[in-house]
């Protein structure tokens, strides 16, 4: 009996061992076959006599609507494939917000098997990708780019590092003031309105508040929920108009965490908050606040908006984000003055087209970019993406100016003086400190500008170390 039991146990053990071995074998086969199956796209395409060009782009955040993104990229691909028989464009659309796009692209670039041949990148992160050696230098291709010579130097600088250019711009954002004409008339403020100092803006906001307590006198976002991209459309513009606009000191290679300009900027936030001239904190601190502004403006909740060029393009019929045909007669535009004048200030930021450093199709990738940068395609991208064309020849082109008058030509005029924010990876830390400071004022209006500055200084210093920050006098 004992022998029988032991024999049965032995048989069960052998059977279990065989079953386990089979399971492990299946797992190993499945595991080892996965990469091969993932790599079949290119060989299949090549077997059919063609080449595949992979193109990555932000599918929901970059263009004004996802449908317009599909329309534009599809059109460019069709045109490119027609001119390049046997070549297939394979898109890798990246949904999600700014951070999602940056993260996904960074992960794609980590492996040459997943790195796209061509990608649409935000200029704010370009320095990081260049430092990673992810991008192909384009200097040898630039002589064939007829548009390049028409780019303002500030736009060229966005994509050029130590004399090497790694991307070409296909759209820029500039910023100014939108103001509600009926609300201004009701408050007795003459229109067209053009403030000459920050005091003029505060004065107008106070008059609006006095004449109509139900509207939000001024929109100026702050806080960390919107991410560092929101700085470009909000407080970053004020800093550019302050007495010391430096964010990163390229001579000392240090980040500025204390300066008269930062203090002036926080003072403006404080003046707004203390005098109840801001929009509600829940709206300003909303993670989607930047995207909400065109809708909130069209609902006529705000009298003055510090904001970007794409708000105007969002209201036209072709975009409808939301539709607001009365916008040109309702919302005027004015330049954002420097703190005490004269002159105007604006941040600058855009989206670029770049080629992966390890692409096997560099020449085709450049041809694809050239197709995307042809006049009609570039202007369509700028209209549908909510941008100003980087090529100054198109700033007065009817295809561009007639899309959303009067906003298109107005925001194009800002291009020559607009200033780009630093595009290295540590900007996210500096920006988070800046956002924490503005957020503290919005949440608690009794926060003084000096306290806000301390919040920023402490945060950035803790994160970067005291050796990488400095004070400007």
């Amino acid at each position: 009996m004992g022998i029988l039991v032991r024999g049965r146990r032995l048989r069960i053990t052998i059977a279990a061992a065989l079953a386990a071995a089979a399971v492990v074998a299946v797992l190993l086969v499945v595991g080892s076959s996965s990469p091969a199956s993932a790599n079949t796209t290119t060989p299949v395409a090549k077997a059919a006599g063609g080449t595949t060009l992979t193109v990555a782009y932000g599918s929901t955040f970059v263009f004004l609507t996802p449908a317009l993104a599909v329309k534009w990229w599809g059109g460019v691909a069709k045109e490119f494939e027609k001119a390049h028989p046997g070549v297939t464009v394979k898109f890798d659309p990246i949904p999600g917000s700014y951070n999602d796009i940056v993260t996904k692209l960074s992960l794609l670039y980590r492996s040459s098997s997943t790195a796209p041949d061509v990608a649409e990148l935000p200029d704010g992160e370009l320095g990081g990708w260049v430092a990673s050696d992810y991008l192909l230098p384009l200097n040898k291709y630039l002589p064939t780019a007829t548009y390049w010579k028409n780019f303002p130097q500030s736009v060229k600088n966005e994509t050029t590092f130590n004399g090497t250019t790694y991307a070409v711009d296909h759209g820029e954002n500039t910023n100014a003031l939108f103001y509600n004409i009926p609300m201004f008339k009701k408050a007795g403020i003459p229109v067209p309105w053009q403030p000459h100092s920050w005091a003029d803006i505060l004065s107008a906001a106070a008059k609006i508040h006095k004449s109509n307590a139900t509207v939000w006198p001024l929109w100026l976002q702050g806080g960390s929920a919107g991410g560092t991209i929101a700085i470009q459309y909000n407080g970053g513009n004020l800093l550019q108009g302050s007495s010391t606009p430096t964010i990163y000191d390229s001579k000392t290679k240090k980040w500025v965490v204390d300066s008269p300009g930062l203090l002036q900027t926080f003072q403006f936030y404080s003046d707004l908050a203390k005098n109840h001239l801001e929009a509600p904190a829940s709206e300003l601190l909303n993670p989607n606040a930047v995207d909400n502004v065109p809708a909130l403006t069209s609902e006529q909740k705000m009298a003055i908006v510090v904001g970007a060029n794409f708000y105007g393009e969002a209201w036209v019929k072709a975009t409808c984000g939301p539709c607001w045909t009365a916008a040109p007669k309702t919302m005027g535009v004015a330049y954002l003055p420097t703190q005490n004048g004269p002159g105007y200030a604006s941040s600058l930021g855009g989206w670029e087209l770049a080629i992966g450093a390890h692409t096997k199709n560099a020449s085709l990738a450049w041809d694809f970019i050239q197709t995307a940068q042809q006049e009609t395609n570039m202007i369509d991208a700028d209209n549908w993406g909510g941008w100003v064309p980087p090529d100054k020849q198109y700033w007065t082109a009817p295809q561009y100016t007639n899309y959303a008058p009067p906003y298109q030509s107005f925001f194009a005029k800002i291009m020559p003086t607009a200033v780009d924010e630093p595009n290295t990876t540590d900007f996210a830390i500096w920006g988070t400190g800046f956002n924490d400071a503005t957020g503290a004022i919005i949440e608690n209006p009794s926060t003084t500008p000096q306290q806000a500055l301390t919040i920023m200084k402490n945060y950035v210093t803790q994160q970067l170390g005291s050796g990488l920050v400095e004070t400007l006098k």
Binding site: I12, A17, G128, T228, S282, P287, Q463
Partner: protein, 306 residues
Amino acid sequence: MAAETTLVPPVLAAPTGRRQDRVRFQLGSIPLLAPAAILLIVLFLGPVAYSFYLGFTNLNLIGPTAINYQWTGLTNLNQLIHDPIFGQSLYRTAFFVIGSGVIGATGIGLLLAMAMQRAIPLIRILIGALVVVCFMLPPVTVAMVWYAASTSGGTITALFGSPNSDFLHSFPLVLVGAANTWSLTGLAMLLFGAALRNIPNEVVESAELERANPVQRFFRITLPLLRPTIVTTVLLMTLLSLANFTIVYIMTAGGPGNSTMILPVYSYQQAFQFDRLAYGALVGDAMVVLATIVSFIYVRASRARV
């Protein structure tokens, strides 16, 4: 002596083989356990070990060390120890996990389960269904519901008579905690409901015959018999709350300031917003260590005799 020996029944004779009442290692169990062990090593222990390794490197998401990263020894750990935001984050995580998961979800789940026992069937079904739906909702939906309800013009602000107030930004940690409690209570209620049904009626009836009042019955009968379920539920609520990233990130993204910066959000911020993958991994490692310690304590507690 020999006669005494023969009088001992065979069943009481000294055991000649191994003891049968102890778990023994059997060689034959190795192949049976191998698939699970391999999966555990490949899908859990391997990544965790790799994450610990990354925590001691200078790996970045982008930048010069994105590909060519190096072992940097205790540099990151030293920074972590002296990082005040990490310290605050630990404290806020403890507040969030204990307040909303351990006390909030477990306590309310127990109360609801007990109330459901005595409720009429229609009410029991309705309330039970509602609470379970809250648990079944995706975290994104939970976050959006609570965001809308707790900001200006929301239901909660209206209920408190100040519709224009912004409670989320006035009491951020309390409100993200409330959202977490709201989403987990259904699970706790289900667990306690099942455990309460398993308490023998005879025990409760005996206590009633002994004239024990409801409070005495709860503390002397119900609670001791529920102890294993309480331990399990508290462990589950702790781990689910500790890993809760979505609700907090969507509602506040860790803000305002750093007032809701719990560890998962801080790990994400460092890794994917500041591109510091290694430091983000180290913050994640700290969470793994915390979760392991907490699990160990709970497992020890569950072994204690009732």
